[in-house]
Amino acid sequence: MILDAREIVVCYPGAGRPALDGASCAVGPAELVAVVGPNGCGKTTLVRALTGMLPVGAGAVLLEGRPVAEWDRAAFARVVGVVPQREEIVFPLTVAETVMLGRYPRLGPLAAPGATDRAAVWTALERCDVDRVAARPVDSLSGGEWQRVRVARALAQEPRALVLDEPTASLDVRHEMELFELIRELVEAGLAGLVITHHLNLAARYADRVVLLSEGRVVASGSPRAVLTAERLTGVFGWPVAVTLWCDGSPQVVPLRPRERGP
């Protein structure tokens, strides 16, 4: 396992119940894990705990076997690339400059980026198909391009694990599919992938394992077919759903209208 959260408990100050209550989640090389669950179930808290932004009250978060809290920030960023949920652009850079920020964990405070850095940036730009817009300022990009630029920035870190928090929120079908295809390709190439998403159907088709969170606890974890059952999802989301099988064997979730019955 590259990233491994073991029965972690996270309490926000002043909150009644813990945001995460004994949740476990791990991801290894060439594996894509999707974390799903209703709003407020602790998905983003899990990302923050996994990436050392939040201290855990109990349990342990390990990166390559070592507690995350012991990692130096820059060293951590050389192993794990994170694409956080939101990012507001204040002083827009160009696409290439933005992706170069992914090299900062490998640069000293004064040294200028070298040929290796430029090569890594270019590879990341091409990989995410944003090399054509390399010179554009980031505030002129479409939503889909901007998300791919942020993934490229994380790839420029040359990480062994990639964590994405709702990467396709507010993207249309094409950009959503393109991004999941990209993530899958990266995982096939050996990266450990952890993606937080609201898209149960995409999680079912792209992920090797699905972790279903509810109220800070892991309700189920395993293959999409084992986790995404109609009964369980209906209980967790509080809305009746039916689950059918798509021709590739992945379960597909259809929310039901009142008084409607599944197939």
Binding site: A75, E97, Y104
Partner: protein
């Protein structure tokens, strides 16, 4: 920054320095300025070497330092409206300095320290006031808090001035008006001594500032020590502002106008932004001082009046753009 811009920048700096040395109560042609710089016995040597040169150099260093403070604060707060004057740092520093002058403690080396204490107190208070709903920093509240803290410090300054003995008042008033009229080589060395370390600290955090501009979370994920950087850079800007206020009074808007101008022509990566902002800030202040001492000759305007005349329209422009 590309070669062309660098050359232009250096040309602007050289032109501002030349203008600063040539202009004054008695305007000197550049040939005489040059002669005076090369030959200590030239006719204009006294004026140029012991009056104008320290004045120009001090204005340059103070302008550069205030501009760098503005750029650094803008990165920390992630808002182009941040500036030492608007955030109340200058007034806090002013209060500290007035208190020291009124009490007659400190001397030329101690006043900056008192100003630093005032600036740190002001920045802490402003920051505290603008943390709404726990941890989110709202730029509008931040600016309001800056104005409120600035006014409060201003009121306390007035109170101290009224209550202190006559000699203290005179010293404090002269200084409070702001300007480089009293510049001396000693003033230049004191300022340089206080400004060197914080400028270096801000410069060494250029990369971390690039990341902090993205927001706390992305900065953290890209390996920046967010909290440590914030604390060190805040203290550095407080020290730069304090040293400026202690040597030449309260001069506003330099930290707003200059980074804004530089960002319009150059990309905002701090490794190039900060040096450019320092040079342009220095040149801007020298030219503002030239205007201040020539426009109503033989009287002198406080240089803060000139920077405000340029700065307020820029502020209005940025305010519209930021809040819409």
């Amino acid at each position: 920054m590309r070669g062309g811009w660098t050359a232009l920048l250096l040309a602007v700096v050289a032109a501002s320095l030349a203008a600063g040395l040539a202009a004054g109560a008695v305007p000197l042609p550049l040939s005489e300025v040059w002669a005076a710089l090369r030959d200590p016995d030239a006719s204009a040597a006294v004026v140029v070497r012991s009056l104008r040169a320290p004045r120009v150099l001090l204005a340059f260093l103070v302008g550069g330092s205030l501009a760098v403070s503005g750029a650094a604060l803008q990165a920390l707060i992630r808002n182009p409206l941040a500036e030492p004057f608007l955030l109340g740092l200058s007034s806090g520093a002013g209060l500290g300095a007035v208190a020291a002058l009124a009490l007659g403690v400190g001397g030329s080396w101690g006043v900056p320290v008192a100003a630093f204490c005032g600036a740190v107190a002001a920045v802490a208070l402003v920051y505290r006031l603008s943390l709404v709903a726990g941890r989110r920093l709202d730029p509008r509240v931040l600016l309001l808090a800056g104005v409120v803290v600035g006014s409060f410090a201003g009121a306390l300054m007035s109170a101290i001035l009224v209550l202190s003995p006559a000699t203290g008042i005179r010293n404090a008033f002269l200084w409070l008006l702001g300007g480089f009229g009293g510049a001396s080589w000693q003033g230049v060395s004191i300022f340089a001594a206080y400004a060197a370390a914080p400028l270096a600290i801000v410069g060494l955090h250029a990369r971390a500032l690039d990341l902090i501009v993205l927001g706390e979370e992305p900065a953290h994920h890209l390996g920046a020590p967010v909290e440590r950087t914030r604390r060190l850079v805040y203290l550095s800007t407080a020290l730069l502002t304090a040293a400026s206020v202690a040597t030449c009074g309260i001069i506003g808007f330099v930290g707003l106008v200059v980074p804004h101008a530089v960002r319009t022509v150059s990309r905002p990566l701090h490794r190039t932004l900060l040096p450019a902002v320092f040079l342009v800030g220095g040149a801007f202040m020298v030219l503002a001082d030239v205007v201040a001492r020539t426009v109503v000759r033989p009287l002198e305007l406080p240089v803060g009046v000139v920077t405000a005349l340029v700065g307020v329209p820029v502020f209005a422009l940025l305010l519209r753009r930021t809040l819409t």
